[in-house]
């Protein structure tokens, strides 16, 4: 699994309210509609600024707060290719994998806004093409790689009729 795109930077503790506010998520199952509001309180106009395949690069505890799966889905539907963070809150982390949004634990301090990145999940390394540097990735647990490879938990269940981990 390989991805390339530009980095958009965020700080620590980006909670699910910032990712997609509760006032929107309760109204609809239309993820394309929700995606328009992704990160709007932290970075107004973020949805317009994202080019398909770009990355969110944040600090620690990304996705803390509610269990809303609309959070990784809104990010995915906004065209973001993967989320990079120093650490993730656990429910968000599971939800991202389950919905097929790659989440990458790494030292995001080595990235600046706009940096061109190439991520190789299998090799476990990010190449910062702007700076000419490489950043190691904390490997995902085996079960998560399997679910992500199947395209998320729903696809995994469809394929095997239940857990096959």
């Amino acid at each position: 699994m390989q991805y390339s795109g530009r980095a958009h930077k965020f700080g620590d503790d980006v909670n699910t309210e910032y990712i997609i506010s509760g006032k929107y998520k309760f109204k609809t199952l239309d993820m394309k509609e929700l995606a328009k509001h992704v990160m709007e309180d932290l970075a107004p106009g973020f949805y317009e600024k994202v080019t398909a395949g770009d990355f969110i690069a944040a600090g620690t505890n990304f996705g803390c707060g509610s269990s809303r799966e609309q959070a990784p889905l809104a990010i995915k539907y906004a065209g973001v290719g993967a989320v990079l963070a120093k650490s993730f809150a656990r429910i968000f982390y599971r939800n991202a994998i389950n919905t097929g949004l790659p989440v990458v634990e790494c030292d995001t301090d080595q990235l600046d806004p706009g940096d061109e990145l190439f991520i190789d999940l299998n090799a476990g390394v990010i190449t910062n093409r702007t700076k000419g540097t490489t950043i190691p990735i904390k490997p995902l647990p085996e079960v998560m790689i399997r679910i992500l490879n199947d395209g998320g938990l729903a696809a995994h269940f469809k394929k095997y009729g239940g857990f096959n981990l």
Binding site: S21, G22, F26, L29, S66, E69, E142, F157
Partner: protein, 417 residues
Amino acid sequence: MGRTIIEKILSSKSRQEAYANDIVVAGVDYVMGQDGTAPLAIRAFNDMGGAKVFDRERVAFVIDHSAPSPNEGVSALHKLMREFAGARGFRLYDIGEGVCHQILPESGVVGPGCLVIGADSHTCTYGALNAFSTGVGSTDLAGGMISGRMWFKVPETIKFVCSGILPAGVYSKDLILYLIGDVTADGATYMSTEYVGDAITAMSQEARFTISNMAIEMGAKAGLMEADEKTFAWLRRFTKREFKPVTADHDAVYARMLEYDVAKLEPQVARPHRVDNVAPVSREAGKPVQQAVIGTCTNGRLEDLRIAADILGGRKVHREVRLIVAPSSRRVFLDAMAEGIIHSLVEAGAALVTPGCGPCVGTHNGVPSDNETVISTANRNFKGRMGNSNAEIYLASPATVAASALTGKITDPREFL
């Protein structure tokens, strides 16, 4: 090698000797979804090719987050939930029954040793009943509804040893806020937590729920306590089922052990916009508030309403403050009526709303205006949480919220004891 509570529960549910960092697939006792998460779970259920749920008696949906529905979008989602549950013959708790985390314990389906998953982050609340219960997302919920199973990484555990007795006017809410402030919002990420010590033993079962409820606010997967006579007395009100308590071994291995003496703890508040931005109430006293909220899965139980009514009874809410009260369940509402608590609250000037989440998550029932300050008994004060990102939210105990509603500014409740 000794095991922690969560290692024991996950071992028994996965039928293997499990220790921290092992990956297990475990059987679940109960699966719950609410109206913010169930609609997406229904979609995932269909995508997975699901037909029926693994056990009709062990799955429930609760309509509590936007109840009654404030708009047609929500109404359509509620209808989807009702039809889905109806067609598969499992229980749906409709509007007015209460918050999911009050309903599940009250319906007798969760007790010591149980494993419960809920598509709501505060599912960790039932840790106070010695159960491993944790929040998941909609796709995990769908997988659980179909298979009755869930995969877990067995977490390490942080043990909080709380000794001493809480002073008058200081409650379990103040203690958990203090602990979160101390370890920070990601201090227990990917981990389980256990709460022990005479401060916990001395607490009522209702007060203990408040602590477990907020374990997620330090990132934890679970907030566990041991079961004692109070736990069993509480459970006997709702079920005849026998539960076997799960205790940690004396040689269990903990990631960290943290000790606190609570005897001198003051009432605490979490300041905007972070739950771990905690300070003693004295430091924020005098800050004007326009809205006060008593309720939610954190502090909407009978004991909480009683504490508020003891302060508000015979007095009047400040004329520049709106006080909103949401009992956490229909049963709590009825009990509070029978005790005269509701009468005292309404007479003091409270606006009562339907048992459920109330204004907690900004969908209805009291969205603050720009530049307003809210003091609430809820568990989250994130920017925009109550539906307006230009409002500020302080979190506190029911006593502190009641006292502040009277004076119109953040107030130490001990002035009214």
